[in-house]
């Protein structure tokens, strides 16, 4: 049908060329020499004045990494990455560490301003942006440049800042938890990250404390040929609660940028961590040139009884996404959740999903995944739900829906289910549908433009997931979805 063709053309011509975060910041930087060997690892560790135990930990990871091979089981294809052709450390010059906003390079502040990220506390407090109060940690290439609302959080006993800073100021906490959820030997990309991670966020919520505001980190890759390897560690002590959001963007570049992050969450007895991601790395141009390779290991450990970890993600960017935020349901009666919207367009390739590992008794998990494929993209849901022999009474509900826009894209669902005891109940539902021309015509007959119609239908499709995002970001995410599918900016 010609109408389908028109939709395809429209979708094909958009998004990728209208990536609104594609600008570059001109700023001097300090880099490690190109390439990766033991001296690179030592260089990074020395730059950060790290204690020797951390250097040893890095070196061991590096030694192991050299013996590992890149995984190839995901439904993604890309040219071989030359790990010697990358910079592993890049920091804006004259940024020894964030102490106050006045010390931050104005160019950097401008960058975040362009991204719409409010860093200036006074403005937020004065309601200048009409924004709600959210504490922000901004990471630029390899280092954290500024963290807002620190003092107020400190009063509540909450530690929020860069992980480098945490290594200096709270070494006992970092040492106790680092690598306990994602071991340095976990997988090729996590091991690489363990060796060369540069910065990231650290959050610690003490016993019984409900974090007084949303915490948020914005990651930005700016430098050419630079890998970003951030490491985030969040610990919620007994009965604590925190909601955390990360956002990601990168400039528009012809070459591919590598991003291999590790996120570890630890929830102790009756603690709850809600982790939301709005990922909008540069997806490449309409021929599929450039874009970020996103190989990320995210895992939460429901270590305590009755603890809860919830992942919500809106993935619209990256040329390649390889990402499976998971929950280890170790504590009895613990709960894991995964809510995902993954949109692919152009030549993007997404292989994403989750793992729910039920170890404790009466543990429950819930997976709701919405994949939207447009253009020539491929969108795969890959998930594992498993129950250990001792995890009696484990329950899982999985719902995977795929929506196709046009006829040159693909949606795939690959669920793995393993139950090692007979007292577990796992349910799986999956659907695949296509945006029909009849639906679009119906909307247009009521006065909506083609773009408004597509956005309306897609927003209906992802509604179950959007409502799990913190209010402040749900609107932003909704806009992002509209942009990545239509190119109608704003």
């Amino acid at each position: 049908m010609p109408a389908v063709q028109e939709t395809v053309e429209r979708v094909r011509s958009i998004d990728v060329d209208q990536y609104k975060y594609g600008f570059e910041t001109n700023i001097e930087s300090v880099k490690a020499p190109k390439g990766l060997d033991e001296s690179t690892v030592r260089f990074i560790s020395a730059k950060k004045n790290e204690p020797s135990w951390l250097l040893e930990w890095r070196l061991e990871a590096f030694k192991r990494w050299k013996t590992m091979t890149e995984p190839d089981w995901a439904r993604v294809h890309y040219p071989k990455i030359d790990y010697q052709d990358l910079y592993y450390y890049s920091a804006p010059k004259n940024t020894p560490g964030p102490s106050s906003l006045d010390e931050v390079d104005p160019e950097l502040l401008k960058t975040y301003e362009k991204l719409g990220i409010p860093l200036r506390e006074q403005e937020i407090l004065a309601g200048v942006r009409g924004s709600s109060r959210v504490a922000v940690d901004a990471v630029f290439d390899s280092v954290s440049v500024v963290t807002t609302f620190k003092d107020e959080l400190k009063k509540a006993g909450v530690i929020f800042g860069s992980i480098s800073e945490a290594v200096r100021e709270h070494p006992e906490l970092v040492r106790k938890y680092l690598g306990t959820v994602v071991p340095s030997s976990d997988n090729f990309f996590a091991t690489l990250n363990s060796a060369v991670f540069s910065d990231g966020s650290f959050v610690y919520i003490p016993k019984g404390v409900r974090c007084p505001m949303e915490l948020s980190t914005y990651f930005r890759i700016n430098e050419r040929n630079t890998g970003q390897f951030e490491r985030t560690l969040i610990i919620a002590e007994e009965g604590a609660y925190v909601s955390y959001l990360e956002g990601c963007t990168a400039p528009q570049r012809d070459e591919n940028q590598l991003h291999a992050a590790v996120v570890e969450l630890v929830a102790l007895d009756n603690a709850e961590i809600k982790y939301s991601t709005v990922q909008n790395w540069y997806p490449g141009d309409k021929q599929g040139k450039g874009g970020v390779y996103n190989f990320v290991t995210k895992r939460g450990d429901c270590r305590g009884r009755g603890s809860k970890i919830s992942w919500t993600q809106v993935e619209t960017g990256s040329a390649i996404t390889w990402k499976y935020p998971s929950c280890i349901l170790r504590g009895d009666n613990s709960q894991g959740e995964f809510y995902s919207i993954a949109i692919s367009n152009g030549y993007q390739q997404v292989d994403s999903g989750t793992k729910m590992i039920h170890l404790g008794k009466n543990t429950t998990s819930r997976i709701v995944s919405k994949g939207i494929a447009a253009g020539h993209s491929n969108n795969t849901y890959r998930g594992l739900v498993s129950a250990h022999r001792k995890a009696t009474g484990a329950r899982n509900f999985t719902n995977c829906d795929s929506l196709l826009v046009g006829d040159k894209c693909g949606a795939h669902t690959t669920p793995y289910i393993e139950a090692k005891n007979s007292k577990s109940v796992f349910e799986h539902e999956a659907t695949t549908s296509k945006i029909s021309e009849d639906m679009l015509f119906y909307c247009r007959q009521r006065g909506l433009t083609q773009e408004e119609a597509v956005a309306l239908v897609v927003n209906g499709f992802v509604k179950d997931v959007l409502q799990h995002l913190p209010m402040e970001f749900a609107v932003e995410a909704q806009k992002l979805i509209a942009i990545s599918l239509e190119g109608s900016v704003g």
């Binding site: 015509f441 119906y442 909307c443 009521r446 006065g447 909506l448």
Partner: protein, 249 residues
């Protein structure tokens, strides 16, 4: 209001409309009747601008403008409304959101300010009440799980909200029991005005007992073959389409 001259249209290379002429003045209600396959629904889709319906010959003037040159949403904004024979389901989008998006899109295109939330709610509640539509229905996803009657009432509600100038009702009576038919017909009659024209497409005479037309046309093989007053529909009911077709053959 509307002047169709020698309209020829095809769908997937099949010729459906073959020289259709029709003139509708402001405030008039025209009924178009005809057997299955005579091209009634095709006419409604051509007027609304559905993709895949190709006009090969002829012209359609709407308020002095070439209707065929406009996009479907532009036609909607200029007051062309099609009540669908089979209203489409949109999962996950509440009826309220859909109505609001539609009303504001049309207002924007007409150069009017968008309605605020309270104003819109007041507007919808008032119109919904006239059509005996439950508030609960507005919270459900568009047409999803709606009964036949609910779907058709939803169409008429949209018609009331969008304030069109030319309404095309495509077999609005299909799938309705007599009570639902009365509610829908009352809704339509309430919208009759000297500024608003209607084309009521139907297979059966029954609907015309409730929506009394000014003019009745009989369509066969892609053309209007007879035109008359309300009596023509009654004649048709008695003789059947077969009788009419032999007469014109």
């Amino acid at each position: 209001m509307l002047e169709i001259k020698n309209l020829h249209a095809e769908v997937a290379d099949r010729k459906i409309l073959q020289g259709l002429d029709l003139k509708v003045k402001a405030g008039e209600v025209h009924a178009i009747m005809g057997p299955n396959g005579s091209g009634k629904s095709t006419l409604s889709y051509v007027l609304a601008g559905k993709d895949g319906y190709t006009v090969t010959e002829g012209s359609v003037q709407y308020q002095g403008e070439d209707l065929l040159a406009l996009q479907p949403e532009e036609r909607a904004a200029k007051g062309v409304f099609l009540a669908f024979q089979y209203p489409i389901e949109i999962p996950g989008v509440t009826t309220m959101t859909f109505l609001r998006t539609a009303v504001n899109s049309v207002r924007k295109q007409r150069g009017e300010a968008e309605l605020s939330t309270p104003d819109f709610l007041r507007f919808v509640r008032e119109k919904a009440k006239d059509l005996n539509i439950d508030q609960e229905m507005l919270k459900r996803a568009v047409n999803v799980g709606f009964s036949g009657g609910e779907k058709k009432r939803n169409e008429i509600l949209q018609m009331a909200l969008l304030e069109p100038k030319l309404c095309v009702l495509d077999e609005t009576d299909s799938g309705l029991d007599i009570d639902a038919l009365k509610v829908v017909a009352d809704g339509v009659n309430a919208l009759r005005s000297p500024q608003r024209s209607m084309i009521v497409i139907t297979h059966y005479q029954r609907l015309l007992d409730y929506i009394v037309p000014d003019v009745v046309h009989i369509m066969a093989k892609g053309r209007i073959v007879r035109t008359g007053g309300p009596d023509l529909a009654k004649e048709l009911e008695e003789r059947g389409y077969a009788g009419i077709e032999t007469e014109i053959a």
